[in-house]
Each structure stands twice: as structure tokens, then as C-alpha cells.
Amino acid sequence: MVIPPLRRKALRDLRRLWGQALAIALVLAAGVATLILGDGAHRALSDTRDRYYADYRFADLSSDVVRAPLALVDDIRAIEGVVQAEPRIVKLARPEIEGMTEPASVLLVTVPQAGGLNRLHLREGRLAQSGTADEAVVSQDFATAHGFHQGSRLGVVMNGKRRDLTVTGIALSPEFIYALGPGEMMPDPRRFGVVWMTRPALERAFDLEGAFSNVVLRLAPGVPESRVIAALDRLTARYGGGGATGRSMQTSHAFLDAELRQLGAMVKVLPPIFLLVAAMLVHMTLSRLITLEREQIGLLKALGYRPVQIAQHYLEFVLMIALGGILAGFVAGAWLGAGLAQLYARFFSFPFLVFGADVRVYGLAALVTAVAAMAGALQSLRAVLSLPPALAMAPPAPADFRRGAGGMAGIFPMRQTRRMVLRHLLHWPFRTASSVFGMAMAVAILVASLWSFGSIDHMIRVTFRLAERQDVKMVFAAPEPLRALDNVRHMPGVMAAEPFRAIPAKLTHATRSKRLAIEGRPADARLSRSLSPDLRPMPMPGAGLVASEALAEALALRPGDLVQVEFLEGRRRVVDLPISGISLGYVGLGAAMEIGALGTASGEGPAISGANLLLDAAQEREFFAAAAAAPGTGFLNVTALTVSRFRATLAENITLMVSVYVTLAAIIAFGVVYNFSRIALSEQGRELASLRVLGFTRAEVSGVILLELAVVVLLAQPLGWLIGHGIGRAMVAAFSSDLYRVPFIMGREVYATASLIVIAAAILSAIAIRGRIDRLDLIAVLKTRE
């Protein structure tokens, strides 16, 4: 095959300029990779979820009741739009596992029938069978954490009575992809699991013969969820119905949704940054190449090549670089995507992971990348087209430094080498600005990823050191009279105990409503407190609600507003309560009241749902044993365990993401600095060689280019901080949900770290250039004209 001469030239140019081409290709590859990774992971997660939901018939609605007769299910099935309704028994219980001292809980759920909703995916063994009361299927993560297999025995205290269960199977459920224990912030498979048992076994254990405590529904497609919820709530109200919830309020689903939203944000933000920077690098490099090859372009035109053919040649050169970037991006994107999918498989419990390469994403990535590269080349190609051959073959006129801002550099006294640097930077303002911008984006990516560390620390400090200061939150299985607090106070190791009351309620303001548990606490609570936005404890008002910022935002509440409160327990009173304050809070929606006022408002009188406790660390084990033995205990939240789990999980995820971001930022920084300095060196090589001849040392001559670089890198820092700050703020807004809000804490160390990383990448790149400056051929440069 004969390669046409111009293509041969493009290939040789590529080999000659391999450093710059590589730098551009890497930046393009980063854009392609983030697009494929982000979109691929997003698609994998959402496709997997959708298929899992469909294959295993994940319910659309779920509603808890205290005790409803099975006959009610027929009425529920009669609601228009309901395709399937299944009564279940869902109860919290306490496992007794040998060697485990810290408190744990399991959620007992009726094992779904064949053809039923929320079907199980068996990993091992078989389902529990009716007629055998002690058979149970255990959720996989919990089983793994404790080494359970088919045939293992597991003791569970149900309704105050211990029962020994035999594990018949290990399973996954679409309902518990993200299995969060009650009151926890992160899944902890050691301390929380799901146990599926047969209906008769659960009926007997909880005295629910002929009754159910939870119903799950599947709706016909297109049926408005809110209408069914309203009808269902009407039916369940008299049986202690706490109100039905759709998927958006289902914990596991909501957490998956939050993850999908973060991935979606990443796909929107990162690839465009890389493509923009790459386009700019293509522009810089190609316009320099065309300046250097003016005479060749003129010659080619004189020889009879059409301008379009010559432009095509340079376009080919650019597209070869783009092709390299695209292919590298494909590989990196697929590799990182597989890694991320594995992380998901660890974090979320899926039976399978749909991670198919979507040809369209690859096609789209290739297309936008090629377009970005061509956009960068556009101006240079226009110059190729318009260059008259006669003019092209004459050397270009020397750069005229009279005009522009460079003239100002003459006013101030400074060393001439510095003046050179200043004038050079000001003479090509677009190039200088785009290099500054490119570096700034590298800083911004880092700032926007590094701030999360400080935010998490802040979140933990506020939530667990200032607001929730108890060592243990003890939640009763059902509300108890006030005197139960005395029993708790007398348990071993309890140094202080404060009661709390939690009543589920639906809060409505104008047209918006939210469901949550209103928490009642003593007026001067010390262990569990509401905090004002300036982090000062807020006393509980005599009447009225303190709403968390998230709730206030969701319902558009301001202090003084009246909010309609529909209690979803007991007498189910509906009252209007004033908002007396807005509190800070990062986890979930929150509303708090003085405990007596809550009892009065709800009409439930004085009762407590549990107690917040300070413990003597030395007697922790004894306390856990006593709490486990007490009949009223529902579950315990141990602050230290919650915090350490929270930290460990986030540390793993964030560390991974931050290392990816650092790599990406370093690629940009290196790419921009390397290209900028190579071009500066190409333009000023002659001047620098002249300086060497005039008696300037190598260090002094390198200093000229390095100073120019340093100015660009330094100017980029504040701009990068600013852009990173903006991206961070946008991320906070994008990530905030009813589940959690992320505080925006941007410490100085974030800016410093981001800058240090980028400057380090710039220095590495500068070292690569320094070698070239040292090797300048003094004689060759002086004997020729440019």
C-alpha cells in the first residue's frame, strides 16, 4: 500500500511531536474515560436496579400497620390501580450471636410466596417451608458477616422469647439492596440483617394469627401513586397504619437514587471540562505547528495542492491524536467502569450486575471527542486555507510587540528577562488565558473533590458531638409509660438517661407534605439536642415545633408559620402547630418538640419511646446484656459504632474517588504545562539560545521559560479555587436529598492541597522541559533564520 506523502508527513509530525500529542491525547482520554465510566456506571446501576426490580417484582408501595385482619387485603386489592397486594408480617427482633457483644438487630419478614412480590434471589439453599416453624432464610451480607450457611443455627429473640432458627437459605432481596439498620447511617452487615420466615412461624411468634403488620402493593403502570396511597391510608388508618410509602421513600431505593444522581452529576461536569481543555491544547499546538510550517504550506500550495487538501492534512494530524485519546479513553473507561461496578457490587446487594458496553455511549464519546478536537483546530485550519502561497513562503514578519498591553511592561523598572516574560504573556493573551484556564480547571477538579473530607468531619462533629451526644440510644419496641425510664436508669453502667418520644406524623404546609417522626425531648435536653444554624443548642419551646433546615426547605416553612400535623399513631389527631424555630441537621428530615407538649398535642399523653443514655465505658458489656434481657427493648443505636462505620464506608468510597480525581487533575496539569512550555520553547528557542551566547547561564535561561510557566500556574490558582468552590456548591445542591444534606465546608487546607498537587504536576512537567532548554543548540539556532 502506498501511503500518500501528506499522510506520511502527518505520521512523522506525530512522531516528532509525540510529547505534545501524548499530552493532548491523555486529556482527551480522560474526557472519554469519565464519560464512559460515569455513563456506564450510571447505566449499569440503573439497568441492574430496573431488571432486578422487574424480575423479582419489587413492590411499588408499602404500608405498615399495627395489626390488620387479613380480610382487609381484599379491600386493598379492590383499590383502583392495584394489581397485586400481599400482606406480610414485618417485625424487628434481636439476634443472639455467640461472641458478639455489641447490639444487633434483624428485620423479620414473611418469606414471599411463589408469584408474590419482593421475591428472594437465593444464593444458597432453599426457602423456608411452611410447617417447619424454625426455618429461616438470611440476607447474604449478614450471613457472610457471621459465617452462616445452610444448616447454621441462629438464635433470635422475638417478642421477648428466644427462638432457635435453622438457616435453610441465603438470599438477596430487591427490597434490601441497601440494607440499613434502624437509626443507622450506613449499612453494617454485622449488626443488621434480614431474616425471612414463614407466615405461620411469624404469626405465632408475634400473636398475629389471621393478621398482618405490613402490606406491599404493585400498581398498574401509569396509575398515580398518590391516589392509591390516599385510598390505602384510609383503609389502614383504623388498624394503626403509619401511612403508605412509595419507592421514593423506601430507604434502599432512595439511597440507590442518591448514588445515581451523583453519577449523573459527574457525567455532566467532568467530561466537558476535559474536552474543553483538550480543544484548547489542540488549538495552541496546531497554531504553532502551522506557524512553523508556513513555508511548507506555501510550497505545497505552489506545487498545486488545493488548500482543502492541506487543511485536511492538518485535520488528519489532529484526528490521529484524537483517535489515540479515544482509544485510550475506551480502555481506561471500561477498566475503571468495571472497577466501579465491583465497588457497587460490594456496597449494594445485587444478585447480578448488568454492565454491558453500550455501543451508543462509546460512539457518543468518540464523536464528541473528535468534535472537540476539530473545534480546537478550526481557527488554525482557517489560517491554512487563507494563507496566500507567495506570502507563506516568505518568513513571517517579526512579532510586533508595540501594540497591546505589553507596552505597559516598559514603564516599570525590572530585569530585561522578566520584561521578556511579561511581554510574551501579554502578547498572546488568548493563549495565556486559556493556559491559565486549563490549569485552573485542574485545581478546580481537585478542590471540588477534596472538600468532602472536611465536610464529613464537620457532619460527624455536628451530628455526634454537638447534637446527638448520647453513647447509646435505646429504642423501645413500643411506647412505654414514663416510669420505664427509672428501669433504664438502674441498668448497669447508665450514668445519665434522658427520655424521648417519637411519633410518626404527616406534616402539611400549603400544598406540600412530608412524613417523618416528630421527636419529643425534655425542654433542657443535654444528650440529644437541636442546634441552631450557628451551632448553639436550642431549648425546646413550650409549644410549637422546631423544624430542621431540610424540612423547612421541603415544606417552605418559616418561623411563625402554622403547619398541619397529622399524627399517624394512636388517636391520629390532626392539629395545627406553629414553627418556633429552624434547626441544623444533616441526616433526614427532622422535627422536634418539648416531650410534654408532644404528648398533649398528639393526645397520647405522657409516654416515652426510648431513652438517650450516657454509659460508663467499663460497664458497656453488662449494659448491653441487661438491655438485651429487658423485655421492652426494641433496638439500640451505639453512637461510636455508627460513627466508625460511617467513617470507614465513606473513607473507602471517597478515597477511591479522590484518587481518580487526583489522577485526572494531574493529567490536565501535566498536559497544559507541557504543551504551554513546549510551545513557549519553540517560539523563544532562538531568543534563549541568543541569551546563552550572550553569556547567560543555563539556569538563567531556563528561568525565563520557567518564570513564564510559574506566572501561568500561579494565576490559575485563585481562579481554580473559585471555580472549584462553585462546582462544590453545585454538588452540594445536587447531592442533597431528604436522606441527608451535605454541609459545604471548604477549609483552607482544601485549596492548599489542590494547589500543591497541581504545582507538583507542573514542576514535573517543567523538569521535562528543562532538559530541552539545557540542550539548546546554540550554533544551529544562530546560523538560521526562523
Binding site: Q416, L691, L694, G695
Partner: protein, 237 residues
């Protein structure tokens, strides 16, 4: 150092280039001495070794063998740092293509050197010697070729060099402009006392020199001293 004393001496200077498999002998055992203040013109065809000779004397190229004594010191033994210092303090260069820094004005181009030299004149003085005081605030792009070359001469002499080396200083200029440049060189030689070596293809220029060397095939094949020097405005080509 008295006038007439040797300032630079080359002994057995040899330079061999490797050009692929071929060896090119650029200089073959050249012996040469220049006295302080001397004005020397170097003639010879392309490839005769005259530029290599000048580059080695000027410390921007290295000899394969032989020695170059500057004020008694052998610069062929200098390391890179010492050679840089030698150029910085003692050698002025003027090239065919001026090699001015385009981002600096005429005055600033000269100041580039005066800022680092040990005992420089002021940039204004240097520009006055070449007759360009009125153009000191102009950038290279605003100056004619001859003016740019005179700025290059001012830049070369501003450090008060012992040696002034000029490689084809009039090569890119027309005759009238070339005369102006030669006048500037002659004036620089007179007023600073710098030993001046000018490489040229233009035989007419030899009339303004104290001495003329003719290079061929890497050797000095002819050496002629002029009893009387012409003024630059008396020659033409």
C-alpha cells in the same frame, strides 16, 4: 595589558565533526594570534571552517584538539560554566540575523547584557556609539535590518568585551546599509579597543581591516596585513 600584546592565541586547533559514517575535518591544526585592538577580516568559501574557528574562539563550540589561550588561560579546558563566564565577561557576538529579542526595545536589548556584565557601559552609551540614540525605544519589528544589526553591535560592545566576533554581519544587508554597519563596527573597535574579527564572503571589506585571513579547507591559507586601512565609507560592493 598594553596595545599590541596578544589577547588570544590558537595553537594546533582542530575540529572534527561526525556526520553519520563520514568524518568532516572542519579545522586542521590552525595556529593564530590576535593582538589587542586589532581589526581582522576572515574570508573564505562556505565550509572552509571560518565560522567553526570563530565559534571555538568565542566559546560556543569546542575544539577536538589544540588550545585557545585567552589572556594566558586555555579556554578549551573550561567547563560549561567557565565558558559561559568567558562569554559573559569577555566576548561580544554579532550574527547575520541580528538575533535581537523581539519583545524588548533597542535599549532593553542592550540592557539585557549590561545587567549581567561585570564592567559595562550604559545602554545609552552603547547605542550612541552605533548612532542609534534616537531609536532606543523602538522594538525590533519597528527597525530596519541595518538598524537591527547596529542594535546587535551595541549589545555586543556594551559589556566592553576584549573580543568582538561578527559572523557575516552585513550578509543580509544591501551595500549602503552594510556600510553603516561597518562604520558602527569600526567605531566600536576604535572606542572600546575590542579585538574585532569579522567573517565575511565579501572581499571588499578586507580593505578596512588591519589584517585579513583567508580560510580554505579548514586551514588559514593566506594572511595579509594592510599597511593602511580604508574607512568603511570608502569601500563599496
Amino acid at each position: 595589558m598594553a596595545a599590541g600584546e596578544a589577547i588570544i592565541e590558537a595553537r594546533g586547533l582542530t575540529k572534527t565533526y561526525r556526520n553519520g559514517p563520514a568524518e568532516v575535518q572542519a579545522l586542521r591544526h590552525v595556529d593564530f594570534t590576535a593582538r589587542r585592538g586589532e581589526f581582522i577580516v576572515v574570508l573564505g568559501p562556505s565550509g572552509s571552517g571560518k565560522s567553526t574557528f570563530l565559534n571555538i574562539l568565542g566559546g560556543i563550540d569546542r575544539a577536538t584538539s589544540g588550545s585557545v589561550l585567552f589572556q594566558g588561560q586555555d579556554i578549551t579546558t573550561f567547563n560549561d560554566q567557565a565558558l559561559t563566564g568567558y562569554r559573559r565577561d569577555h566576548v561580544g557576538f554579532v550574527f547575520q540575523f541580528y538575533n535581537l529579542v523581539p519583545s524588548l526595545t533597542a535599549l532593553e536589548n542592550v540592557a539585557l547584557v549590561t545587567e549581567i556584565a561585570a564592567n559595562p557601559m550604559t545602554p545609552e552609551e552603547a547605542l550612541a556609539i552605533v548612532g542609534l540614540s534616537s531609536r532606543s525605544a523602538h522594538f525590533p519589528a519597528q527597525l530596519s535590518g541595518g538598524e537591527q544589526q547596529r542594535v546587535a553591535i551595541a549589545r555586543a560592545i556594551a559589556k566592553r568585551p576584549g573580543l568582538l566576533f561578527c559572523d557575516e554581519p552585513t550578509g543580509a544587508l544591501d551595500s549602503a546599509t552594510g556600510v553603516l554597519v561597518l562604520e558602527a563596527l569600526a567605531e566600536a573597535n576604535r572606542s572600546t579597543g575590542a579585538t574585532t574579527l569579522i567573517i565575511t564572503h565579501n572581499a571588499a571589506i578586507q580593505q578596512i581591516a588591519d589584517r585579513t585571513l583567508r580560510f580554505a579547507d579548514g586551514r588559514i591559507v593566506e594572511e595579509v596585513s594592510n599597511a593602511t586601512r580604508k574607512r568603511p565609507d570608502q569601500v563599496s560592493w
